[in-house]
């Protein structure tokens, strides 16, 4: 049903070389105003954090003790912190880490969650064991689990991949492994309902193999809760990252990230409110823009809408 919605047939269309379906997706995506704005904002932030440091060359960890607690000025457009470090430089270098961690951890958790959810929902035999596994992960106390992960994996990882990459992998895995359960439960619930729908039964009756069933019929129909999970997952990952560095699991303490900048600034909320506003705004903007991109992507991937 979903895939088979026929487009108005015409000779020209039939004679054209077959067009990649992703072009259709992109065409549809472009018409979504919110998604386009979201995309632009998101790309602006990403390029700002990546390329910004080449233009604004102050070292984010450089301490200029005479210039501490300054407001906005030409020398320091975002002001300075309590040690006189430049906030703009810190926001940019923090952004690189936060966005990288946020996206990677979100992707990992959504992939894991979707995989487990689809398998559990689709294959009845796997449902019991996988859902009990989900219950187990939901019940594990987070903090001790993270502490155990640091203890067991930090040194081997940093030896294998170098301290920075090792920490990155550890953080991303820690967040991914502890946050896939909600996605899994939601996807499974939807799949349970989907697989009793007529179009699935129809596809099954013509002998479609399971792998094709899942990729062609089930997955496209659970996209929207997955997109919501992904949006919420980014915010969650950025904040969790800052919590991890307090446990000593994250990056070294002089390494700025948005979550950390926000947390450090909360004590100064009355005297220097701008210091809370910048990282807070940055996180919100990223989440908001990802949300709109997700919205547009969901519409673009939905063949019913795309066809119109």
């Amino acid at each position: 049903m979903t895939e088979a919605t026929a487009k108005p047939f015409s000779v020209e269309a039939a004679l054209k070389p077959p067009r990649n379906q992703w072009w259709d997706v992109w065409d549809q995506f472009k018409t979504h105003k919110g998604a386009l704005v979201g995309m632009i904002v998101f790309l602006a932030i990403v390029f700002g954090t990546l390329l910004g440091p080449f233009i604004w060359t102050i070292d984010p960890t450089f301490i200029d003790i005479r210039a501490r607690n300054q407001g906005m000025s030409w020398a320091h457009p975002f002001g300075t912190d309590q040690l006189g470090r430049d906030m703009l430089a810190r926001m940019m270098s923090g952004g690189q880490v936060s966005i990288a961690v946020g996206l990677t951890a979100m992707i990992l958790s959504v992939l894991l969650g979707t995989l487990i959810g689809v398998l559990a929902g689709y294959f009845r035999r796997l449902d019991g064991p996988l859902m009990r596994l989900t219950d187990l992960f939901l019940s594990l106390p987070l903090l001790p689990l993270l502490l155990v992960m640091v203890m067991l994996f930090r040194e081997p990882l940093s030896r294998a991949y170098g301290p920075e990459m090792g920490t990155f992998i550890l953080i991303v895995c820690a967040i991914g492994v502890t946050s896939w359960m909600q996605t899994a439960r939601i996807v499974r619930g939807d799949v349970l309902a989907l697989k009793e729908r007529e179009f699935v039964l129809a596809a099954k009756s013509i002998g479609t193999p399971s792998r094709r069933m899942i990729t062609r019929h089930i997955l496209p129909n659970v996209m929207s809760p997955i997109m919501v999970s992904a949006t919420l997952g980014i915010a969650n990952a950025i904040i969790t990252e800052s919590a991890l560095s307090f446990l000593g699991l994250g990056f070294p303490p002089d390494f700025p990230t948005w979550g950390r900048l926000l947390f450090d600034a909360v004590d100064y909320i009355r005297d220097y409110p701008s210091r809370v506003i910048w990282p807070g705004l940055a996180i919100s903007l990223v989440v908001l823009s990802v949300n709109y991109i997700g919205d547009g992507l969901r519409d673009a991937l939905d063949p019913r809408i795309r066809g119109r």
């Binding site: 301490i63 003790i65 446990l247 000593g248 303490p253």
Partner: protein, 571 residues
């Protein structure tokens, strides 16, 4: 500290002012209710089973010791008439016993008399082998405690004790009631929930409701020895949250009257004081924030049982000149200004207080980057292509610098990293959650005892006013090592036979002046002579009270609530 003196002056003046006009018709409970907030919540009101300072402080409002330290670190008689000394015959000439005489007529809050039996029982309770008493060190060297009559107690030691004021002195070793705790000895201790939560005491307040890790409700002790005290009829003792929130509730919203231990950045605290609801008070004790140098090699390439043990000396920190250069590069004045403000002062001493024991060592107070560079050159380390110094054998000056997670400590790390990199020492920072860092779990690589890094920073102090156990920590052989499950207090793995000989001499010396001389010498050996320990800041305590609360005298030598009976409401 002029600020402190001025503050003390006002506090004292305020303390006497109401007495002048109100004397004669003061009554207990006249000032109604007082709210106290501790951002670490008390878990138990029995200090012998406590899990931290918060429990000692809260219980000090209820149960009391025989003698306390005052705000100057001097002993004051509390439940006795005078402090026993060799001069007044209370301490035996051979230093093998001390005899305390209780003030006659004291009663517990349930109305029964306080007797020497209670004191004897307290010792029995804590020294029980299965009890797991947290204050056992207070009873170190005690052979026996006997009641000579109903008001006299003699403590016999198994060796001469130059300072016999361990047992029953300060908030760490108060007297508990025998009648209440008689069935709670040893393994039974945890089963006495009611006694642990509502101890009967001689102090100014009595518990009416205790909710562990949350709140204590108290009321004035109807049987307290001074009929005019305490001024407050009821107390709410709230726990939980964080230091900033506690400070806010006293200084900005005025919901609470007293907040304990506000370790906040000075400008944050200053901003809150400016709201005008209350004031921050500070006082100094013996707490010193320091950098400890690892004299052994913490390299992860070494096999697990040998890493950070005396089998492998550190590749460059074993050189005194390198340690000295690291110390010289630090600007302690600036650290104080950034991190502690009025609650800190730069120090070069491990023992900064009391004055008798504090060395006049001030060499480190001025930062000397050039001098540090010259010293490293002298030690054979020259700048490599990336600016990091290397010696002829290819040893790179690259250190891992760890500490616990704490906003001020992370600021210190960032500053010190910058200075060290300036003299050509590559620095990698690492922070560890405090409950892991200070926990002695031998399975974790991140404890401060294991010291799997080159340098580490934390603060330590000693209880009471005698530093002997404190300096004795650095005895040879007392280092954490695999064979002792990494337990041990000689964190740096320092070992000097001369130091040990001096320690033995200290243990034999009773003369106060002479003890001072030896401790100062020991202090200098660890700090300015060898730079094994690099002290940074003599850390004071900052607390805050509202403008309507009077009588507060901040005491760092005992519980902060030591004189809560004298607190009153200012109108």
């Amino acid at each position: 500290m002029t600020f402190k003196t001025a503050l003390m002056g006002t506090a004292v003046a305020m303390a006497f002012a109401p007495m002048a006009f109100a004397a004669g018709h003061e009554e207990r409970g006249r000032d109604g209710h007082v709210n106290i907030i501790y951002w670490q919540a008390p878990s138990i009101l029995n200090p012998y089973l406590s899990s931290g300072t918060k429990d000692l402080e809260s219980s000090s409002m209820i149960i009391e010791p025989l003698a306390r330290y005052d705000e100057n670190g001097e002993l004051v008689a509390w439940l006795v008439d005078e402090i026993p000394t060799v001069e007044n015959g209370g301490v035996a000439e051979d230093l093998m016993s001390i005899t305390w005489r209780l003030t006659p007529g004291l009663t517990w809050s349930d109305g029964t008399p306080l007797t020497s039996e209670d004191v004897v029982f307290t010792a029995e309770y804590c020294m029980h082998p299965e009890g797991g008493c947290a204050q056992l060190a207070k009873f170190d060297g005690v052979e026996s405690v006997e009641a000579l009559d109903s008001l006299t107690v003699r403590v016999n030691f198994n060796k001469p004790m130059p300072v016999p004021y361990g047992p029953f002195v300060s908030a760490e070793a108060p007297i508990i009631q025998k009648a209440q705790f008689a069935d709670c000895l040893g393994a039974n201790a945890p089963q006495c929930t009611d006694a642990n939560f509502r101890p009967i005491g001689t102090g100014p307040f009595v518990v009416t409701d205790f909710r562990p890790n949350d709140v204590i409700s108290m009321e004035a002790n109807a049987n307290f020895r001074d009929p005019a005290k305490p001024a407050f009829a009821t107390v709410t003792f709230k726990g939980g949250g964080d230091a900033a929130a506690a400070a806010r509730s006293v200084l900005e919203t005025g919901e609470f009257d007293y907040a304990w231990n506000l370790q906040l950045a000075p400008d944050v605290l200053q901003g809150m004081v400016e709201a005008g609801q209350g004031q921050a008070i500070s006082a100094f004790g013996t707490l010193v924030e320091r950098i400890e140098m690892n004299l052994t090699n913490p390299s992860p390439d070494l096999p697990d049982g040998e890493r950070a043990t005396i089998a492998h000396p550190h590749p460059f920190l074993s050189d005194q000149r390198v340690r000295q250069a690291l110390s010289m590069a630090i600007d302690r004045e600036l650290l104080v200004e950034i991190g502690y403000g009025q609650a800190g002062r730069p120090t070069c001493n491990l023992v900064p207080n009391p004055p008798n024991f504090a060395s006049d060592n001030t060499d480190c107070l001025t930062q000397d980057i050039e001098g540090a560079k010259a010293l490293l050159e002298e030690a054979g380390f020259t700048p490599g292509p990336d600016g990091v110094r290397v010696n002829a054998d290819g040893v790179r000056l690259s250190v891992v610098y760890q500490t616990s997670t704490n906003a001020v400590r992370q600021d210190f790390q960032a500053l010190i990293k910058q200075w060290w990199e300036e003299i050509g020492v590559e620095t990698e920072l690492k922070n560890i959650d405090a409950s892991v860092f200070f926990g002695g779990d031998p399975g974790s690589p991140d404890t401060f005892q294991k010291f799997y890094s080159d340098v580490e920073m934390y603060a330590n102090n000693f209880s009471g006013t005698d530093p002997q156990p404190y300096v004795a920590m650095y005895r040879c052989g007392n280092e954490p090592k695999p064979s002792t499950q990494w337990q041990g207090e000689n964190i740096n793995r320092y070992c000097d036979p001369e130091y040990d000989a001096l320690l033995d001499e200290l243990a034999q010396t009773a003369d106060f002046e002479e003890r001072g001389r030896i401790v100062r010498q020991l202090n200098d050996m660890l700090t300015k002579d060898s730079h094994t320990i690099v002290p940074l800041v003599d850390r004071g305590r900052v607390s805050a009270h509202s403008n309507t609360l009077g009588g507060v005298i901040l005491n760092t030598w005992d519980s902060e609530l030591w004189n809560v009976a004298d607190w009153y409401r200012v109108n």
